[in-house]
Symmetry: C2
Subunit: 119 residues, 2 copies
Amino acid sequence: MIETVNIVEKFALIHEHWHPRVVGELNDAFVKLARLKGEFVWHHHEHEDEMFLVIKGRLLMRLREREVWVNEGEFIIIPRGVAHMPVAEDEVHVMLFEPKTTRNTGNVRDERTVDAEWL
Amino acid sequence: MIETVNIVEKFALIHEHWHPRVVGELNDAFVKLARLKGEFVWHHHEHEDEMFLVIKGRLLMRLREREVWVNEGEFIIIPRGVAHMPVAEDEVHVMLFEPKTTRNTGNVRDERTVDAEWL
């Protein structure tokens, strides 16, 4: 069944931070939505490029050599192998595009590691 | 170089309709922006699922058996093989996610066929 997905309505169903929920799949990729707040963990993805599209708020993306602000209506693509640490001083809503194989914490496995789960 | 992409700023650089421009790449996919106005052509993509995220306006997606409105802030994923015809009564701004191999007119090649081109 081909259906539209309303991003704002989906976010209303998400209550946790740092727990991306799958809202679509195409080809080998998942579309995910996540609420972020606070600091995440330094990690990289060995084989996957990852896109962060900021739906609401603004995201600070720390890279090893510098940091980049990603404002509402902007996206950033983190190439495979690049260490990054997303930081949300205030709550941020992001849409993620990444291969289905992507683990949220990349090369790290800790208490923030969660499996991809459909909303 | 890892940079943010501002969607509104990019749209200001696009002047044609039905001519998607590449604004990002990740894994095997391109992120594209397109201004749509009027009717496109019936087509399908043999091997590629395609995602339309409506940034501005509202898009009518005609399918063989029915039609679906995709409003601002909503997306729709058209699975491979499914015939579709996007229609924009008023101008619509969309973000597209599709494999790099995707031809805009799918199985059809006509005067509206354009190659993927970076903005």
